[in-house]
């Protein structure tokens, strides 16, 4: 229970920090954020919607508002998911743009990242078990090299090879442009078809880290006494590997899941950009380039919240896997 309360305090604090940070960045930057935003709206747009300046001042703080009261108003607006109107998608509210794009990213990253974790730890487990064997000498350097290349480079290469040269998969967008999103088979198969290459890039980019991490921990675990004991009992090789060594070795990589996820969330921006995937990352890049500050700010908040949610899920998994936490 105490553990749970401490974790709860951490989530709340992290959430609050994320909110504060997204509020503070525009304030700390040189120049007034309002001026920058209004530059991107045409005079007609401001005339049509006279309240718009006030809305922005409530979120970013303006000349007429003091910093603490602007902060308080920002928190209130954030609680209602009100982040103003996106200047590059005028007159769509920011929250609507996010609602439209975020599900694509969550689906893509969620699936691909979990696949990378499973694939990476499995390879790491086998590599450590037969250390110096064929598997170890081929896969570990291979994934280490793959992990060294930035995700966008792997993405460009894969687009070139599988999309352009071989023409196996579509290379742009998340579904066929002639389709409308809906719950039918044609749409789903098109979405999966479009998702395979981006997902492959994410898996290749992130599996390497897990391979090395799992291998290192597993090598240490193998020399533990209880593994020797399991061998001595005459248990099958495979059973010792999965139930004794890997069961214990999985905990450190699992705890590294959330920070890695934070990196992955950043990495997905590049992948989405290369594939013009209509997710939150691509939108963030477009917003930052177009200086759509309300959208940029709100998306940063979204990206900051994702790892906190991931930590929460990992804590729950940990609760199941690690009896020491349950006991305390």
């Amino acid at each position: 229970m105490r553990w749970f309360l401490r974790r709860l305090a951490f989530y709340v604090f992290a959430l609050w920090m994320a909110l504060t940070l997204t509020f503070l960045i525009p304030q700390l930057m040189p120049g007034s954020p309002i001026g920058g935003i209004l530059q991107h709206l045409s005079p007609q747009q401001i005339q049509q919607n006279p309240g718009i300046i006030l809305t922005y001042e409530k979120i970013f703080g303006g000349k007429n508002v003091s910093l603490p009261s602007a902060y308080w108003q920002y928190l209130q607006h954030a609680a209602h998911f009100n982040f103003g109107i996106s200047t590059s998608n005028y007159p769509t509210p920011v929250s609507e743009v996010i609602g439209r794009t975020l599900p694509w990213s969550i689906a893509l990253v969620g699936i691909a990242f979990c696949l990378a974790f499973i694939l990476g730890t499995t390879i790491g487990m086998f590599a450590a078990w037969r250390r110096g064997g064929g598997f170890d000498t081929i896969f570990v350097p291979l994934f280490m090299a793959l992990g060294a290349f930035p995700a966008y480079f792997t993405a460009l290469l894969i687009v070139y090879l599988f999309g352009l040269r071989l023409g196996w998969f579509p290379i742009q967008h998340a579904y066929g442009t002639d389709l409308t999103p809906g719950f039918n088979w044609t749409f789903f198969s098109s979405a999966i078809d479009h998702g395979i290459l981006p997902a492959l890039v994410i898996v290749l980019a992130f599996a390497g880290g897990w391979v090395l991490n799992m291998r290192t921990v597993m090598i240490n675990t193998i020399s533990e006494d209880y593994v020797a004991m399991a061998h001595a009992k005459g248990l099958k090789d495979r059973r010792v590997m999965t139930r004794y060594a890997a069961r214990n070795a999985i905990l450190p990589p699992l705890n590294g899941f959330a920070p890695q996820f934070a990196t992955a969330v950043g990495g997905v921006i590049f992948v989405e950009l290369v594939f013009s995937y209509p997710g939150a990352g691509f939108t963030l890049q477009q917003a930052a380039l177009g200086k759509d500050l309300p959208l940029t700010q709100a998306l940063l908040l979204v990206f900051a919240v994702c790892p906190i949610v991931a930590i929460f899920i990992i804590d729950l998994v940990n609760l199941v896997l690690d009896p020491r936490i349950r006991a305390s």
Partner: protein, 323 residues
């Protein structure tokens, strides 16, 4: 862990340099460096890195600066004798872009690493050594900065920035990349703090400053070096990434900027593999080299990770497994 290391290192017949623990109180760097220089992974890594630095230094002798930014050549030429790496859609030389780009990319990465490592070391050690409220505060801030995704954060900051010169980028990236190392270094310093030699220094009345700088730091130098290398390559990736997204200074030549122009001009879709392959390979090889150096440092400081003996015959392996 360090205690474990010394215990493990003592019986090791391979590295006579690691054995004497009596010299611990002096600066450990030389023996540690020699060990690292003997490590094959670190050797390969340092070798590749040296090549890149060399080309960055002698860039004006192997390429002309103007051909990287001047759009005066025939466009979309595949690699040839005249243009080793081909030319871009805009008619600039890819080879010159890669060679001159190395200067900017490596320098940014290096200075970010210096800044972030300094921050991480200061905060990590202070937090561990002072303890109490200071520790709680620093740890909390660290763990929060740690989970906020760097790339979106940097995108947001650069979106608000008006100028994106190299110094600005170094400061901004450096201030976001310290958190994970601060955590590790804090852990190390915590373990070190209660070791006998620190207690002895305290009892003999040495000042806190001297204990930290003269006793604690020299013993953590291998971990700090690892932190430096880690941040170095992450910084190269992050900086190139921001430039790739178009959020850097697109007028200067660097690896990320080359990749940015390759995507903006949709070179990939037109089948011009050379305009993105070579800058991308440059980033990848540099990062790979630094990863190898890091693996080398890890192996030196954690003997369990060290490779098996060279002659791995099948029989030997079988014997090992059933031993």
């Amino acid at each position: 862990m360090t205690q474990l290391q010394t215990e493990l290192q003592q019986p090791g017949p391979l590295e006579p340099l690691a054995a004497p623990t009596s010299s611990r109180r002096r600066i450990k760097l030389p023996s540690w460096l020699t060990l690292m220089l003997r490590n094959p992974k670190a050797q390969i890594g340092l070798g590749i890195l040296f090549l890149f630095v060399l080309f960055a230094v002698i860039a004006p002798f192997v390429a002309s600066a103007s051909s990287a930014t001047n759009f005066s050549y025939a466009t979309r030429e595949p690699p040839s004798w005249h243009h080793l790496f081909g030319t871009t859609d805009q008619g600039s030389d890819v080879w010159a872009g890669v060679v001159f780009g190395a200067r900017r990319s490596l320098a940014t990465g290096f200075f970010v690493a210096v800044l972030a490592t300094a921050l991480a070391t200061t905060l990590g050690i202070t937090s561990a050594y002072v303890g109490g409220f200071v520790d709680d505060t620093i740890s909390l801030v660290t763990s929060v900065v740690f989970v906020i995704p760097t790339i979106p954060l940097l995108i947001d900051i650069t979106a608000f920035l008006h100028q994106r010169g190299m110094t600005t980028m170094i400061l901004v990236i450096g201030c976001t990349l310290w958190a994970f190392e601060a955590r590790i270094l804090r852990g190390q310093a915590l373990m070190m703090k209660n070791r006998d030699f620190i207690l002895a220094a305290k009892v003999s009345g040495e000042s806190t400053r001297r204990i930290i700088l003269g006793e604690l730091m020299p013993n953590m130098i291998s971990r700090i070096a690892a932190a430096f290398v880690l941040v170095f390559y992450i910084a190269i990736l992050v900086e190139a990434g921001l430039e790739f997204l178009g959020l850097g200074d697109s007028a200067k030549s660097s690896w990320g900027v080359s990749l940015y122009w390759a995507t903006v001009n949709s070179s990939v879709l037109q089948g011009e593999w050379w305009s993105f392959l070579f800058p991308g390979l440059a980033i990848g090889l540099t990062v790979l080299a630094l990863t190898l150096v890091l693996a080398g440092i890890d192996e030196v400081s954690n003997p369990r990770l060290r490779g098996l003996p060279k002659n791995r015959s099948v029989l030997r392996l079988l014997a090992r497994r059933h031993a």
